[in-house]
Structures are given as C-alpha cells and as structure tokens.
C-alpha cells in the first residue's frame, strides 16, 4: 500500500453548544486513493472536513501530506488540502471568476505568470474557459460548483476534499461533475449522500456514524451491503438496487 497522505488518529471534537460530533475517529488514506465518506445527517462528516483544515479545534492526531496539524501549521496543512465547501456561494467570494481562481495561487505567493498558467489550467479542467470575467452570482448552480472546484484545483493540492459535491445539481450537471472527478489524479475524499456518485468515483467507502468509523472497505462491497447501510440511515445506491431487482419486475 502506498504511503498514507492523510492520517487521522482518535479524533474527538465537541461543539461548544453541546453535541459531541467526533468520538475517536481513526482513518488513513493512501496517496492517490479515492475515498467516499458516507453516513447519516449529523454523523460528523462535515465536522471532520473542518477539523482536517484546523477550523474546529479537534483533539487527536491529524497528519496531512506529511504535516502534522498543530497551532502553527494550519496554513501549511491547508496548502496541501483542497477543501471544496457545500455551498459554492461561500467558496466564490470575489467579484469575478478569474479573481476567485487566482486567489489561492496569489496568496501562495506565486509569480503572476505562474498564477495565469494555474488559472487557465483550472478553468480548462472544469470546462469553464471563457468564464474568466463572469460574476459568480450570475452562474448556474452547476457552473458555480465547477468554478468552486477550479478555485481549489489551481492550488494543485495533494488531497481534494469535497463536501456534498452533487447537492442541488441537475442530472446533466451531476454527470459532468462525475466525469470530471473521475479524470482527476489527486487523492480524493468525497463526503455525501450521493452513494451512486461515490460508487462510480471512489474505490473505497468509509461509513461514519455517531462520530466514528463503523465500516471501511471497497465501495463495491460496502455499497452493496443493504443491512449495513440501512442500519446507519442509508440505503442501497439506486444503480445497485435496480440491478438487484428480480427479472419479472
């Protein structure tokens, strides 16, 4: 197995307002792996992503691309971790698409030529060439989602972490996103309830419930296990359920 690019050991976090979101979560992701994180609402999936980038002060050991997350290393960790948030309007905060995509590379201190190369590369990757000077507010949901992905791709992170990437997308937008994700070469962590997307994009699936890992294995095995999924508030992916249907239906 390749060297782990993401290591989480005994991660715990309790929100100041009460609920314990993460209760001793341990997980390791190898370089180049594509992992789907699934689980019911409130299982701690989104909190886990925030903890990875150091936005919530979780207890335990977090190591991203060889950097241990500590008080002074959060910025270094974030350089290697491309976090794409659920609401693209949160991610796209600049007046133009091009400024938004350039934001990461510019804050990294790259030279202007290099920034331009990265921006065009990212726009090309998400198929948004020609959108440079458009205002994010005027993009469709699908375009916003791809632009949000581009803002992170331009930083060439070792790990891409996406929170509910297909939420609110129409079937065509969703299909486009799936093809895009399948074409990416970086390590991928996809959080969400779109189990069909995860089955198609990720080789490995991790089920999280009540703040800890309850199942971990190949997507084809985990996402075909009706008993396991239903026990944790999920159900079989549609593609699996349809394929398993008796012939006379």
């Amino acid at each position: 197995m390749a060297e782990p690019v993401l290591e989480l050991v005994d991660i715990r976090y309790r929100y100041p307002t009460g609920p314990e979101a993460l209760r001793g979560l341990t997980l390791s992701v190898a370089s180049g792996e594509r992992v789907g994180l699934v689980g019911p609402n409130g299982a701690g999936k989104s909190t886990l992503l925030l903890a990875l980038a150091g936005f919530v002060p979780a207890e335990g050991h977090i190591r991203v691309a060889g950097h241990t997350l500590a008080r002074g290393t959060a910025r270094e960790v974030r350089r290697h971790l491309g976090l794409v948030f659920q609401d693209a309007d949160d991610q796209l905060f600049m007046p133009r698409v091009i400024d938004d995509i350039a934001f990461g590379p510019v804050t990294m201190g790259l030279a202007l030529d290099e920034v331009q190369v990265r921006v065009h590369e990212a726009l090309h990757a998400v198929d948004l060439e020609g959108y440079e000077t458009r205002a994010p507010y005027h993009l469709s949901v699908g375009e916003k989602r791809r632009a949000a992905l581009a803002t992170v791709l331009a930083m060439r992170p070792q790990i891409l972490a996406l929170d509910e990437p297909s939420a609110n997308l129409d079937p065509r937008g969703r299909r486009r996103l799936i093809e895009l994700l399948k074409g990416l070469r970086s390590t991928l962590v996809v959080v969400g309830h779109d189990l069909d997307l995860i089955l198609e994009v990720c080789q490995r699936t991790v089920v999280i419930d009540a703040g800890r890992v309850v199942a971990d294995g190949p997507s084809r095995k985990i996402l075909h296990d009706r008993g396991l999924l239903e026990c944790h508030g999920l159900e079989l992916p549609l593609s699996v359920a349809a394929a398993g249907r008796p012939a006379y239906l």
Partner: protein, 257 residues
C-alpha cells in the same frame, strides 16, 4: 443590476477605471464648491455630464430610475428648507395651530441643493453605468484607497444579492403560511423574528466564507494582480474633468466674488 450597461464598448467604457474615478471626484468637488443659490456656474458640469452620457450611450431611463431611487435621501434634507429659511413669505398655511411660512429664499436654497445633489448623483451613476463594479474596485485599489474599505465594498457587492434572495425566500415562506392576515402584534413579531434569523444566517455565512478564504491561504491581506495602467488618453480625460471642476469654481468666484 447597478452596472448592467457597463459591458458596452464605447470610448468612455474603454477608459481606465482609476481615471474615471478621479474624474468623477473632480467634477463632484467642483459642484459642491459652488456657493449658495448660484445656478449658472453649474452649467459646465451639466454640459460635461450630458456629453459623457451621450458618448457612453447610457440609457436615459436607467439614469432617471436610479436617480429616483436615491432622491428620497436628499428630499429628507431639502424638504425642510422652504419653511426653516427666513425671508420673503410666498405662501402661508396653518398647521394644527401653527402658522407655517414658505419663503422664496428657502425655495431657492432647496432648489439649489437639489440641483447639486442630482448632478453629483448623476456623475456617480455615469461612472457605475460605464465601468464594471469590479473595475471600479480595482481603480480604488490603485488610487491607494485603504484595502479594508475596498474589500468591504467588494463583499457587499458580492453578497448583497444572496442576502436579498434569502430575505425574499423567508418572506415568501412566511406569506405562504400567514397570508398577511392575523393580529398586527403577531405580524410585527414575525417580522422582528425574520430580522433576527437573517442576522444569524448572515453571521453563519460570514464564518463559512472566512473558512473558504482561510482554506486557500488567506492571512488578512488580499493580493490582487493589477492588470491595467493609465495611458495618454486616460490622463487627458482626467485633465479634462479637473478643468471642468476648476472652471466651475473659478466662474463661481469670478461672477459672485
């Protein structure tokens, strides 16, 4: 949208945003320096703005509609002058035991202030009508306007629409359930609640936006690649606007001392 006509391609659209910002400020400064109750020295400003308007092909309806939107702010100030300014009474009426006198001097002063206000608003609308908002922001940055101020404006512009959408959705959700009926106290309370929820949502969004910025290395300073620069025609344009501003002031002083 504020800058819906800013994407057109006319000679004034192609001018440098920083040049247009300085020019607008010069004309506004000249306008506000004109002394009380003097209308004639404002003529160069009217001519200059009308010429800019024509070259920029800004639709007149757009300008008038936006002037109408900003006018109440001036009206609130101007409306009191005719009755507060002492002078020759042109109209007297009784109001609940009080005798109110509308004076000629007051009307003149109100008219003069309104004219100045409308000219300044027109100049600003022409700037925004022929320059995309992000370019205005870039212009402000190059003019060394404090970064925090520019960033505030940028965020305001970026999230205003999202905030308005949010208000609209919440109002629709409320209207769908109460139909605008019910005792006023209940309606008032639901309105106050709406403001509270909106504040909390805005706060949450601000936090998420900050996370998105920090996730991409934000450390408190915004770096933006600066692309454009002043050319000869931009300098010429600024010089022209400054000349108009100066002409107004000089004329004002020359005639009235």
């Amino acid at each position: 949208m504020l800058d819906q006509f800013a994407a057109a391609k006319t000679p004034v659209h192609r001018l440098d945003p920083a040049a247009k910002t300085v020019a607008t400020l010069a004309v506004i400064l000249g306008t506000v320096l004109v002394g009380r109750e003097r209308f004639l020295p404002l003529l160069p400003v009217v001519i200059a703005l009308a010429a800019y308007h024509a070259v920029g092909r800004t639709p007149i309806v757009y300008t008038l509609r936006r002037l109408l939107v900003v006018s109440p702010f001036a009206l609130a100030v101007v409306v009191l002058f005719p009755i507060l300014e002492p002078g020759l009474a042109v109209w007297t009426f009784g109001l609940g035991g009080w005798t109110v006198e509308v004076t000629a001097e007051g009307l003149l002063r109100a008219g003069h202030l309104s004219a100045k206000f409308l000219l300044c608003a027109w100049a600003t609308l022409l700037l925004l009508g022929t320059t995309r908002f992000q370019d205005v922001l870039q212009g402000l940055t190059r003019l060394r306007v404090p970064r925090a101020f520019v960033v505030q404006l940028a965020f305001l512009y970026r999230y205003l629409w999202i905030l308005m959408d949010e208000v609209m959705r919440m109002r629709q959700a409320r209207a769908a359930r109460d139909g605008g009926l019910g005792p006023w106290r209940v309606r008032f309370r639901s309105r106050v609640g709406l403001v509270g929820v909106l504040f909390l949502r805005t706060y949450d969004r601000a936090e998420r936006v900050y996370w998105a910025m920090a996730a991409r290395g934000f450390d408190g300073t915004l770096h933006a690649p600066i692309q454009s620069h002043m050319r000869a025609k931009d300098w010429l344009f600024v010089a022209g606007a400054v000349a108009v501003g100066c002409a107004v002031v000089v004329w004002d002083k020359a005639i009235y001392g």
